[in-house]
Symmetry: D2
Amino acid sequence: MYSAFETKIFIRPDDIDMNNHVHYSKYLDYILTARYEQMKNNYKVSMEEFVDRGFAWVASKVEINYKRALLLPDKIFVRAQIGSIKRAQVFLNFWIIKEDKNKVAAEGKMIFTMISTKSGRPVKIPDDIIEKYSV
Amino acid sequence: MYSAFETKIFIRPDDIDMNNHVHYSKYLDYILTARYEQMKNNYKVSMEEFVDRGFAWVASKVEINYKRALLLPDKIFVRAQIGSIKRAQVFLNFWIIKEDKNKVAAEGKMIFTMISTKSGRPVKIPDDIIEKYSV
Amino acid sequence: MYSAFETKIFIRPDDIDMNNHVHYSKYLDYILTARYEQMKNNYKVSMEEFVDRGFAWVASKVEINYKRALLLPDKIFVRAQIGSIKRAQVFLNFWIIKEDKNKVAAEGKMIFTMISTKSGRPVKIPDDIIEKYSV
Amino acid sequence: MYSAFETKIFIRPDDIDMNNHVHYSKYLDYILTARYEQMKNNYKVSMEEFVDRGFAWVASKVEINYKRALLLPDKIFVRAQIGSIKRAQVFLNFWIIKEDKNKVAAEGKMIFTMISTKSGRPVKIPDDIIEKYSV
């Protein structure tokens, strides 16, 4: 069982589309922002450290359910929790939540794959990373 | 059985991220661009017409599998095909394809819901629209 | 002489381009984010209030000098100060500043024009707004 | 006297903001898109070639005047023309033009600086590049 972490996100005017809502692709940017923050602050292994070790993370799959529109003045945060880790892949569950009444605006899951920046091929996630992810 | 339509997409430098690939959220922008084009050119009912009639489309669900990285010089197109239509919702299957050797860079499905701009609530898709979608 | 206000901006991974720097157009998004924040928090007249009164703001001119690259881990803020107000226009001076050593990453000026959302034409900025801007 | 070149740009739904217009920062993305295209197709020296030679281009200054709003259905192109070349810098004039009646939606100028990717410092633009730019 992995821990869930939360990261505050600040909606920007350029995130808003012609319907006066946060544009649907921006939700993915919010999730990635949260993941970077949580890697640095919660898992204590920043993206820069991965790069230095010759690794990169790529998205392999995203499944997202949009529940409620987000407006510019909304205060939100992303909750993310690792579901499982298998070889080169991290299975992540996420929720985008409005601070007001804790209503879920979107939820879903995604798969990140660790690759070697040299070969571009997936590589088994090293044990020390798995350990750090197991907080 | 609904027709599949294809729309050419032009990758822009601002779509490229720190990994020198098209950023993962931009794929959703490409799909939406194709949908707008296909609504106007293939289904002959443009988004403006929906707006005039008091309707809007919102994304309710996206499921996308990333297969291959996209680079700035890549020539690509989006193929989209309605899978089914149920009450207020269109179930769309999509593929993002490289012109070179027709390789699939990403594929998935999404659900769009038609809402009333006035009430913000889902509304049953009118028969004349369903007919136009049945080309 | 108008007051200068500062707004913290959070750089997101999707702001980073192929050169590993904040993409040059995102600077404009940061400035607009700061302006919205300052309208609400410092001038006490939010964008929503303008919309309710039938007004909108459009950018008429931007002049920006890029001094230093911004990286994802950089902590930054936008300082903005009204230079003058003339009829329908606000002349704004801005600086994007790194918290570390207060180094200016970019600076410039822009002109915003208030328009009537109905006519789309510029309208003289009302006296009560000018007064609020004169803090 | 340098040649002017034109590049067609396709406005995407994600370029549209809450005012139903192309968002003001997207104009800079259109200009950069045109520049990449023109480097490859008109000057016959693609960005990839610069990268291979250890160079990169960064924006040093942008001055843009917004004349007319751009809407999603608008057909537009970017005209760009080098004004002068000085040591490490290219001074570029640009116009974003609506195909319908050739109306200028925005115009301005910008300065690009060639840097060494190794040092990050400006480098004098090589003579063979200046020659290619002199078409």
